[in-house]
């Protein structure tokens, strides 16, 4: 049943992604609303699938790669939605759609285990994986926001403006990427930067707690607080970079293009640790897949 629900979600996601692409090619106010409704519908279906899996496993649904991809995708789109509605940047949710669609599509085609492994019953492991995933999701959304920032900054620097649309005598219905800011097609740089800081403030403590709970779990199970596997090293490097960036942003006031590029680099590192090392891993993380 949960697998069927996930497959249904994959279908809704595919429709949503198609709507996003069509909206970017032919923007309109009604298109923006349609896309947003599809995003919300996708999240609802996905939530049902994740809930069903939780009931099936009687544990936090992170038993295998199938679960990990699904939950990661779900968290990612949920955070994007919050950013879209609260931060006034719907474009972030739209751009997250193709990525999450792909994740759900892969997830629904992966074999899933029927029972949760014993290790998942540990509160420390569940906390470790849950918080790390939530933190990582926030950073991936920050990466998308940073990409939109760079796109908008480049457009402004190149003095490119979309030509205004609408027939004479009719009131213009928003153009470009959406109607969130009327004449402006992409969100204002300041709004994107502000959302980025929110995501950092939200993601960084979660990432930190994720690492700490992982260390505690390691100590409990193997007696080692820290193991030098590749994933741990990359995660530590990303954590240090994020810590430095948060300091630079909040204390020095660093922002703009360089901050956006660094955010994107860190997100790529996170995705690599997740996909490259997590799935095919031969390390301590390999056994738990994530």
């Amino acid at each position: 049943m949960p697998t069927a629900l996930l497959q249904l979600s994959a279908l809704v996601y595919a429709i949503g992604t198609l709507a996003v692409v069509l909206h970017i090619l032919r923007p309109s106010d009604s298109g923006a609303k349609r896309v947003m409704m599809l995003v919300v519908t996708s999240v609802i279906f996905h939530a049902l699938a994740v809930g069903g899996r939780m009931v099936e496993l009687s544990a936090f649904p992170l038993a295998d790669a199938h679960d990990a991809l699904s939950v990661f995708g779900f968290l990612l789109l949920s955070i994007s939605l919050v950013v879209a509605f609260r931060g006034g940047v719907p474009q972030v949710a739209w751009l997250a759609m193709p990525l999450v669609s792909l994740m759900v599509l892969i997830s629904s085609n992966l074999k899933s285990v029927a029972e949760a492994p014993e290790s998942l019953k540990s509160i420390w492991l569940s906390a470790h994986i849950g918080m790390a995933l939530l933190g990582d999701s926030a950073f991936v959304v920050a990466g998308i926001t940073a990409s939109v920032y760079l796109l908008q900054e480049r457009r402004i620097r190149k003095r490119k403006r979309k030509k205004s649309k609408g027939k004479p005598g009719t009131r213009r219905t928003g153009d470009g990427w959406g109607s969130n800011t009327g004449m402006t097609q992409l969100p204002a740089l300041e709004a994107l930067d502000r959302v980025n800081v929110w995501l950092f403030k939200f993601g960084f403590p979660l990432m930190t707690l994720g690492i700490i709970s992982g260390m505690v779990y390691g100590k409990v199970t193997s007696g080692d607080l820290w193991s030098w596997d590749t994933r741990n090293v990359v995660s530590a490097a990303v954590w240090v970079t994020y810590a430095a960036m948060l300091y630079a942003r909040l204390i020095i006031g660093w922002r703009g293009r360089k901050a956006a590029w660094l955010t994107i680099c860190c997100v790529i590192a996170i995705l690599m640790t997740f996909i490259g090392l997590g799935v095919t891993g031969t390390t301590v993380h390999g056994q738990e897949v994530v």
């Binding site: 403006r161 030509k163 205004s164 609408g166 005598g169 009131r171 009327g182 004449m183 502000r194």
Partner: protein
């Protein structure tokens, strides 16, 4: 018969100095309204005085040309300007042209920056002031109410108000791409010339919270600052101001850069890299273009802005055309309605006379009395007059009902009091004024 006309001058026809001297005559407007309304045959008056125009909207009971002559004679006496000097800058519109002009002014089609939102507010203020002073009667009332209605339609049904046209509007549009909201943002205007004044005024209407003016001459800066409710600063203080401000508009005549990269590098750090937008409308430029290389510093010069304006101008031309069509349709309807009003006193008199005769004859016959008698008299009046009234009304709607009205009055020996027609105005074109030359500009807008 009441005649409506408009006479005055605007940025299309008169340089700033002439506009200023006329603006002085009509300031304070309240006293000017009282003074003008004492002129012979002038019945109602509204004065619109803005930085771009001084216009008098008048209803008079005499020939409009004579009234125009009396008005400018009075102005000439008050300003000391010779009528011949004033004449080339003036225009006068009568009848439907006058309605059309008012509709276009209120809809911001006649403005320097077409589509700018302030003018409707200024027209409304002028109307309110004249009402409070007691120089507005039902006729001007009707015309202005119609103008507000038309302006509202233009604003909501065409995209004219949404287009950025002037440099400062373009600056605001660019600002919206960089800043989340312009509310609470601080603007620094460098230079206190004509462009700066315009820019600062437009910015004030865009939700900008604080305006600072920096100029080489502090006195001039203070003058502009007072106009836009801002603060004045000397030019030497500029680096300090750049730390605080978010949008900078510069239009000085300086041959050197006022802000160079070296100065700005230090400022950027002190600003904690907050974004800053420079709009350089000066030629030669005031802002070093190399500033654009700095993090979160965006510099737009006149050429860059042209692109923004060009895009909008093409769209604005279409919207202006749509607005003109809308105004033409409203004008036709208004003129038709107004003509129809001209037959009202005759219709009223004819009905009264016929009703009275029917009543008397029925009473003499002694068959009916009381309310039955009145009802029958009324029915006879309606049936008898139906074809005549129908013809009269349709003559009123279709064209000039004058000859038909005169003929009806003579035929039935009616004495008509024209004051019965509270709202009708003689809309027929008067010939071009002979005393005050009409410098009728092309109404194509800025």
């Amino acid at each position: 018969m009441v005649r409506f006309f408009i006479t005055g001058l605007s940025h299309h026809t008169a340089p700033l100095e002439v506009r200023e001297s006329l603006a002085k005559v009509v300031t304070p407007v309240k006293l000017a309204l009282r003074r003008f309304s004492e002129l012979e045959s002038l019945e109602q008056i509204i004065i619109i005085s803005t930085c771009n125009r001084v216009e008098l909207y008048v209803c008079c009971s005499d020939l409009a040309q004579d009234c125009v002559k009396r008005i400018w004679g009075q102005v000439s006496k008050e300003t000391g300007l010779a009528e011949e000097d004033l004449a080339p800058h003036l225009y006068t519109h009568y009848g439907p042209d006058a309605f059309s002009h008012l509709f276009r002014v209120s809809s911001s089609l006649d403005s320097m920056v077409v589509g700018e939102p302030q003018i409707l507010g200024q027209v409304k203020e002028a109307y309110q002031l004249a009402r409070n002073t007691g120089t507005v009667g039902p006729k001007l009332n009707k015309i202005f109410e119609k103008a507000f209605y038309v302006a509202k339609r233009v604003r909501t049904e065409t995209g004219i108000a949404e287009n950025a046209v002037s440099m400062s509007f373009a600056a605001v549009e660019l600002g919206k791409e960089i800043f989340d909201s312009l509310a609470g943002k601080k603007v620094l205007v460098i230079g206190a010339g004509k462009m700066s004044v315009l820019a600062a005024k437009h910015l004030r209407n865009s939700g900008i919270q604080e305006i600072r003016v920096a100029n080489r001459s502090l006195a001039r800066a203070q003058e502009l600052a007072a106009q836009v409710d801002g603060n004045a600063h000397p030019l030497s203080d500029i680096a300090e101001q750049l730390v605080d401000c978010d949008i900078v508009i510069s239009s000085t005549a300086s041959p050197e850069y006022i802000v160079d990269k070296r100065m700005m590098s230090g400022v950027v750090r002190r600003r904690r890299y907050r974004p800053i937008l420079f709009v350089d409308i000066a030629v030669p430029r005031d802002i070093d273009p190399a500033l654009d290389e700095l993090e979160n510093v965006f510099v737009y010069d006149v050429d860059d802005l042209q692109d923004v304006i060009r895009d909008n101008r093409a769209s604005r031309a279409k919207e202006a055309l749509a607005a003109e069509q809308l105004i033409a349709a409203e004008l036709e309807e208004f003129v038709k309605w107004n003509r129809a009003q001209l037959v009202v006193p005759t219709v009223k008199a004819l009905r009264q006379r016929t009703f009275k005769l029917a009543q008397e004859e029925l009473r003499r016959g002694g068959v009916l009395s009381g309310s039955k008698l009145d009802a029958t008299a009324n029915a006879v009046t309606n049936k008898l007059l139906h074809p005549v009234l129908k013809q009269l009304r349709s003559a009123g709607e279709q064209g000039d009902p004058g000859p038909f009205v005169d003929f009806t009055q003579k035929l039935f020996d009616l004495s008509v009091d024209s004051s019965d027609s509270e709202e009708s105005i003689d809309v027929e074109q008067e010939p071009a004024a002979t005393v005050v030359p009409i410098n009728k500009k092309s109404e194509s807008g800025t």
